[in-house]
Every structure is written in structure tokens, then in C-alpha cells.
Amino acid sequence: MKKFLVLFAALAALWTAPAYAALQVDVTQGNAQPLPIAIPDFLGDPQVGANVAGVVRADLERSGLFRPLDPRGFAEHATNINAVPNFGSWRAITAQGLVTGQVTLQPDGRLRVDFRLWDVFGQSQILGLQFFTTPENWRRIAHMVSDAIYERITGEKGYFDTRIVFISESGPAIKRVKRLAIMDEDGANPIFLTRGDYMVLTPRFNPTAQMIAYMSYIGGKPRVYLFDIETGKQERLGDFPNMTFSPRFSPDGNQVALTLETGGNSDIYVMDLRSRAMHRLTTDPGIDTAPSFSSDGKQIVFESDRGGGQQIYLMNVDGSGQRRISFGAGANGTPVWSPRGDLIAFTRRQGVQFSIGVMRSDGSGERIITNGGRDEGPTWAPNGRVLMFGREAPGGRGSSIWSVDVTGRNERRVLTPGSASDPAWSPLIQ
């Protein structure tokens, strides 16, 4: 992914933004009042300009916080990105935000993308950025434009320039083929990373989104592996006589928390990736698994049935201070700490009903936010405002990936090539 780094953004300072601009969206309110925004096709090459604007419109619409207006209703067709828009004509179609942009192929072969975000009622430019990249990289630039707009209006970091690693599924449930796959956050550019000749499960990104930790049944021996996305190199993590599973990187990327099964008993360990030393954190005879680091790296949340049923526990990163934090109905597992640090997402199971919930990191304020019946394995957007998860169809009829705001609103199916499960959301790509 380093090849993507040959792009940069610069402030286009032709107009300075007045400070009174009031165009904003409160992300904590979900999609109650999505902001009407006009995003005409970008000027310049008509195909590329339409493509970039189309991705930006789709990104912002998908967030549930924006309502991109139908370009067929636009009265003004600007020909110069540097001209001040006729705000009256945009107000007339109820647009509150306006994005104008331009794509230019540079003499050196690079693609230049400029855009400006206007506050229609404030009659002012509130953001202007310029990007350079290779022409085939236009989708990433479009996502970066979306991220910039989202951040300027909501005050929160965007999450469109991210990727999803997941398990692609095919074949009947009794003989399902599971392959490691990766795609852009909007489902574009899906790539299979393994061929499907052995089962793979539970992929997780490292903090630079360059590495995936996952579980593979290569050679019939289920173990945790690392996959380097850039080189395609796979490496077994450690050499253990028994199963290792449920890997999760530490926030600094230097450690992997995982579960090692010994004599039927599953316990949580942390492996230092440089020394490969294993440090054991749990010794309980119950099942201890599914560890996830806190965003500050000081604590680990995990699941255990040591108290009789599967529940969520917290411990310090050295294994001390183990205590139960989930007390809701049913079984609770697969805890995942939000990148913001404020919430822990989890899977609630009552009988054969699975749903996604969130709770504060002390276990209080529990809320169940999905009711799809078979929702399992949440993963956080890097801004901690949106979750993805897998949803199983009953009777082994395949699975799909969905996203939902942490408010429980804006539930949507994520586009995948065929059946898919177990998504993991990348951090913001650097």
C-alpha cells in the first residue's frame, strides 16, 4: 500500500474561510436530518470528473448524515471552479452544502483533483483542497475528498479512505469454502488473498493496515498467521503444538493478543512480535478467548465462561485485575474496543438469536443496536461512529456484511462479492 503514498493534499487558499460558517452535522444524532448537499460532476475530463463526484456522493449518502441531491435538478452548471457559485440557485433546490471540483491530468502524468466545499447559506467557502495522484488511483482521492467533507461538517474524522478485510464464503454450509479477501470500504476493488484450499477465519488489521493477523487451517492445523498485504507473504505466528486463534493487534502494532489451547483449555496470551516471546495472561480453567486491546493499550477486554456462562471481562495488559463487566441477558462475547476508547462493541446471544451491542468500557450503558437475528463479530470504523458485522442467514444459506451507526440507525448491507463474514475495518490508511 505504500505506493499509494505518492499523493498529498494542500490547502487551496484562494478564499479564506470566514469563521461564522454554521454548516454542521451532529453525528451523535444519526441520520435523523441528513444534510442536503449538491455535488455536481467535477470539471475537467468528463469521465473522471463524473467518476470522482459519483464516489463522493455515494460515500456521503452511505454515511446517513448527508443527502446528496440529484444532479439532474441542478440549475447552475459552472464552468470555472474558481468562480464564486450563484448561491441563490443552490438555495432554491434546498442545498445547504455545495461541492465544486475539477480533475486535471498534469503534464507529468499525475492526476490533480481540486475541490471546494461551500456553505450555501453562509455564502462562503469553508474548505478547499488539492490532491495529486496517479490516474488509476482516482477512487482513493474521491474517498479522501469525502473524508475531508465529512470531517469539515461533522467535526469527526471520516472513514471512507479505509479497507475491509473479511472472509469470502462460497459453497454449501456443510462444505463451505472460506477465503481471505480485502476490499475498499465501499466494496470496490475486492481481492482474494487466499485460494480457498484451506479454511481461514477471524482476520484483523494491524494499526498501519499493512498486515493482517488471521487463523488458518493450513496443513489441517489451525494456527494464527500473519499476512503481509504488500508482499503477499504469510508467516505462522510461533510454533505451538496446539491451536492458536482469535488474534488481535495491540494499538502500537508491536504485540498480538491471541488464544492458545492446551489440553482442551483455552487461555489468552500476548506475543511480542519482535522477540516472539509469549506472555500468559489468563490461567482460568474456563474458556478465555477473543481478546481486544483498549485504544491506549493498557487494558484487554475478552470473553470467558469462568463464571458459568460466556461473559465479557476486563484485565490490565499484564493480566492483573481480571473482572467481569457484562451482566446483561444471555451470553455475551466477541468484545471489541472502540478506537475512540469510549465503548466496547460485542455480540449478544440468546438461544439462536445473535445481535450486536455496545457498552461503556466499565460495562454500563449497554445498548443492543441490531436485531437481524444472526449478527456477530462487530468491527469499528476508525472514528468509532460506525460498526460493521457479519449476518448469517438461517439454515446455512450464506452470510453477508452489514454496517450500522453506533446509534443503531442507518443499517445497510455492505457490497461484497458473494457471501461474506467476519469483517475487520482498517484504520485510516496513511
Binding site: 496446539n242 491451536m243 482442551g264 470473553e303 462475547g333 446471544r349 439454515g395
Partner: protein, 175 residues
């Protein structure tokens, strides 16, 4: 899951002969309806001339490869002790054979939890075979969690079939 085993798995697994005691203790705290007993193992089919004694097929057909478990449990049920005894006897007769025990779970559990539960079940089968004289080095275990069901409907009949330990001949058999 609320009635999960109170007995330490160490105790349950390290001494197969006291499993009965552990099981009684489990039942005392069981607040859910008892799981439907899995189908009784079918009577061993007569050895036919087409099946080579000491082969993987001989083991699968004439001994039986599968045992079943209660919901969220991993203790060997009394009904399955016969089949595991036959497995141990067959392995004593063919000492070069190595096996792998697959542990499986039904769909009522999260992915990682069921991997751990499958490992418990595979290990329980291994411990029982070892208690019957099979050398520990001949028995590997592998958990598939809920990833390899043999029945895909959401009902107790399917769940009971999927909660299983399957002994697979992996080497040293006649062929």
C-alpha cells in the same frame, strides 16, 4: 450457557473414570430443558469382504467414528463410552494407526467461543481414548468450532448432530 459446567475441566478431563460424578453435578445446576439425546450409535455392521481390516474404512464403518455432546458440554456421555471403547480396542489391534479427533459445535455460540468449545470436546475424546490405553502421541486434536456442520437447520435435531467429536484415521492404516 447459563448452566455451564461447575466442575473444573481439569478434574473432568484428567480422570475420565470420574466423569460420571462431574456430570451429575452439572445436571444439578441445569435450568434449561435437557438436550435431546443424540441418536444411539448404530450396531456395528458385519465385516464384509470389501472392507479391508485395519483400514480407515474399517474404523469408520465397523467401529464408528462419531460421539455426541450435550449443549455447551464436553463430557463424554455414557451412551458414547461403548463406541470410544471400541475405538480404543481397534487402535490397540492396529498399533501403527494414528488418529486426529475433530471437535465440533452447534451454531449456538460465537465463532471464537465455539472454537474453544470444539477443542474441549476433541480433548475429552482424546483423554477418554488415552484412559483406555491409547498412547497420547497417537491422538491429535483439532477444533472446527461451528464451521463444519453436518446438518444446517436451526433445530435441536440438527444441533445434536453437529455437537460431535469425530475420530479420523490419519496414518498407519492398512490400505
Amino acid at each position: 450457557m447459563m448452566y455451564f459446567s461447575r466442575c473444573l475441566k481439569f478434574t473432568c478431563l484428567s480422570a475420565a473414570l470420574v466423569l460420571g460424578a462431574c456430570t451429575h453435578k452439572q445436571e444439578a445446576v441445569n435450568t434449561a430443558p435437557p438436550p435431546t439425546p443424540p441418536p444411539a450409535p448404530s450396531a456395528p455392521a458385519p465385516v464384509t469382504s470389501s472392507i479391508l481390516p485395519g483400514s480407515a474404512e474399517d474404523f469408520r464403518v465397523n467401529v464408528g467414528d462419531t460421539v455426541h455432546f450435550g449443549y455447551n458440554e464436553y463430557s463424554i456421555q455414557d451412551a458414547d463410552k461403548g463406541i470410544l471403547g471400541r475405538q480404543a480396542a481397534w487402535l490397540a489391534k492396529y498399533p501403527a494407526v494414528r488418529v486426529s479427533v475433530e471437535g465440533h459445535a452447534d451454531e449456538r455460540g460465537t465463532r471464537e467461543y465455539n472454537l474453544a468449545l470444539g477443542a474441549r470436546r476433541a480433548n475429552a475424546v482424546k483423554e477418554y481414548l488415552v484412559s483406555q490405553g491409547v498412547s497420547t502421541g497417537r491422538v491429535e486434536t483439532v477444533s472446527y468450532g461451528k464451521e463444519r456442520p453436518i446438518c444446517t437447520e436451526s433445530n435441536e435435531g440438527c444441533w445434536a448432530q453437529n455437537r460431535r467429536g469425530v475420530t479420523i484415521v490419519t496414518g498407519g492404516a492398512n490400505s
